[in-house]
């Protein structure tokens, strides 16, 4: 009897911080945002409730175009981060010597020690018209005048891939690390080509890491604010910027909250769709024992 009580108590104590964190820092603010998003302003200090904020979102092409653009570019960033991150993770987990692995892994984490803002400004210094790359190209004689490399979508995608690729590498390394090398050897011994072994053995094994990495990267990208704004220039429209504009510049908390809810719902939908289309489920990948 006493034993189970102790068990119960330790369960409650261990679970409490997690439950508090989820309830106070995630669920409660989201409920607040949801509540404000249903509020309609009639006059100064007067409100009623309804869905007019959502209708307003749907009837204004600028808003949903921005949301679709953000989602589309985030998917692109996720795919590129996977393409860039997978070889790196594979090298660290499978090819590099055991001794150098920790050092390599640490080197991947080092950029995280510098804030997003500073890293974005680093890119600005390098890519601006009077910046490093432009003057270097002129010195070599590849271009005749200064070139502007900032303020376009390609730069935004590159900057975002750079920011988030670590969040792809980390889960991939930890899944690939657990793979037994003899599985790969067995594949070769049974006459599999490199491609077949990669496709039939490595990728399925790494799937939990791929799914986890893709979800983290997609969510981080869709919710990022600094990088798209600082590198994007005059044509960059990112959905988080719209949310900021609504809340701060236009004093319109109702529509800002609506956009926040829509971003959450829409990105969750994209993740669900991605899992469906690739035939994966959270239970069989991320939550696999």
């Amino acid at each position: 009897m006493a034993r189970t009580d102790v068990g119960k108590l330790s369960f409650i104590l261990l679970f409490a911080p997690f439950a508090l964190w989820i309830a106070l820092l995630i669920i409660l603010p989201q409920l607040g945002i949801g509540y404000i998003s249903l509020r309609e302003k009639v006059g100064p200090g007067e409100y009623t409730f309804g869905f007019s904020n959502y209708v307003a979102f749907l009837s204004e092409p600028i808003y949903w175009n921005t949301l679709l653009r953000t989602a589309w570019m985030s998917i692109l960033v996720t795919a590129m981060a996977l393409a860039v991150g997978f070889p790196v993770a594979y090298y660290i987990a499978k090819i590099a010597q055991r001794r150098s692995r920790a050092a390599l892994f640490l080197m991947c984490l080092i950029p995280l020690w510098v804030s997003d803002l500073v890293r974005a400004f680093g890119w600005i210094v390098i890519l601006r018209e009077t910046g490093l790359v432009s003057s270097l190209l002129q010195k070599i004689g590849l271009v005749s005048g200064p070139v502007e490399l900032l303020y376009n979508d390609a730069t935004v995608v590159m900057g975002l891939v750079y920011t988030v690729v670590l969040f792809m590498i980390v889960p991939l390394v930890s899944t690939l690390d657990g793979m037994d090398n003899s599985l790969i050897e067995a594949g070769y011994n049974l006459g599999g080509s490199r491609l077949t072994v990669f496709r039939r053995i490595v990728v399925p094994y790494a799937m939990p890491g791929i799914v986890a990495g893709c979800i983290i990267v997609f969510m981080l990208t869709a919710g990022s604010y600094l990088t798209p704004i600082l590198l994007g220039g005059k044509n960059s429209m990112w959905f988080t910027e719209q949310i900021y504009e609504q809340f701060v510049t236009r004093y319109n908390w109702e529509s800002g909250a609506t956009f926040g809810v829509l971003l959450l719902v829409f990105t969750s939908f994209v993740v669900w769709l991605g899992l469906r289309l690739t035939g994966q489920s959270l239970a069989s990948t991320v939550a696999k024992d």
Binding site: N65, T130, L150, Y151, K234, R250
Partner: protein, 358 residues
């Protein structure tokens, strides 16, 4: 031994903390970058040893958003512009009335004080006093763009890819004046204002090709101009005057239709907790010797009598190079924004930002 020392140190620290808590008052300032320079804070704290100053840097929109979020708590003194008081107070009730008798009103510039009174009096109560004023206009590199005269030059194809602006309401108003309209006269007529906004939006969308990028703050603007990447830009005169100190070719040009003038004010947030300290700060920064230090840091002109004469010498030279008496007589002061207009302007700005160009 070691633990004894640690204990002693902790006790001393605890005593110290308790001690400062008991006597000191904190003045929490919510203000613009440059409006609370370290040297002024140091002098103020020396003159008032029981007050510590905490500074949060912000801009008009963020100041209002922050005060709105807390119902006017968290700060003891804020500095929004004069056209951002009436509507914000009506709508969100975030300020409280000021006592003009506690401010050395005699030393304030009478015109500016009247201007702020006209804009920031609600139900007979005054909510703000002027602090610094300046204008928005054009800055041009006269070695590369010698003929810049007005707002329209930002869209002049001669400077394609070499112009910049801040995508906020100022550029909408400036462009409207450039098109020969008077937006302030249309404030009362929403339909007419919308019609004018549509025209301005079309102009600025067509102009997008000409613009290199939109700047967000004084630092962006400075780098763009000093590096020569931009030769004509919408600018705050204060930033332009600072740039003039570094490169004599970067001259502030008040547009021929009149520079747009703003007054940054002092207001008390509704739930402020250190009113006495706030009044002390207001009166302190109006002293002539402090005005000079302040203007050196803000680049703007203090709203006291002879504000221009109290500018540091290099800034005075920059002002003299930019303004003649005709320009000063032609200033267009921002009028109070009626409710609902900001939303229309926000839509216009979104349309401009979302329009595609090369």
């Amino acid at each position: 031994m070691k633990s004894k020392f640690a204990l002693a140190a902790t006790t001393a620290l605890a005593l110290f903390v308790a001690n400062t808590d008991a006597n000191a008052e904190t003045l929490r300032l919510l203000t613009w970058g440059g409006y609370a320079p370290d040297n002024v804070i140091k002098l103020f704290e020396e003159a008032n040893p029981d007050i510590t100053v905490e500074v949060t840097l912000s801009n008009n929109e963020e100041m209002i958003a922050k005060l709105r979020a807390t119902g006017g708590a968290g700060y003891d003194l804020a500095q929004p512009s004069h056209d951002r008081i009436f509507a914000a107070q009506k709508e969100y009730n975030i300020y409280k009335p000021l006592d003009l008798s506690k401010v050395g009103a005699a030393s304030l510039d009478a015109n500016l004080l009247e201007g702020v009174k006209a804009n920031a009096t609600i139900d007979g109560e005054l909510y703000a006093v002027p602090h610094q004023w300046g204008t928005s206009g054009i800055v041009a590199d006269i070695s590369k763009a010698p003929n810049v005269k007005g707002w329209g030059d930002l869209c002049n194809p001669e400077y394609k890819g070499r112009t910049s602006m801040r995508l906020r309401r100022t550029i909408l108003l400036g462009t409207a004046f450039g098109l020969g309209k008077d937006p302030f006269a249309l404030y009362a007529d929403k339909a007419a204002y919308q019609k004018m906004l549509d025209e301005v939006t079309d102009t600025l969308i067509a102009c997008k090709d000409n613009v290199k990028t939109y700047w967000n703050g004084g630092d962006d603007l400075s780098t763009l101009l000093l590096s020569g990447e931009v030769v004509v830009s919408e600018a705050w005169d204060s930033t332009a005057f600072k740039l003039y100190g570094q490169n004599k070719n970067l001259v502030y040009v008040p547009p021929e239709t009149g520079a747009l003038a703003w007054i940054d004010t002092f207001v008390l947030p509704r739930k402020s907790e250190a009113d006495e300290a706030a009044y002390k700060w207001i009166n302190f920064v109006m002293k002539p010797e402090i005005v000079k230090l302040m203007s050196d840091s803000t680049g703007a002109i203090a709203a006291v009598k002879n504000g221009i004469d109290l500018l540091p010498d290099d800034k005075k030279a920059a002002v003299k190079a930019a303004f003649d008496d005709k320009d000063l007589a032609n200033l267009k002061f921002f009028a109070n924004i009626p409710a609902g207009l900001e939303d229309m302007e926000g839509k216009a700005l979104e349309r401009i930002k979302a329009a595609t160009s090369n």
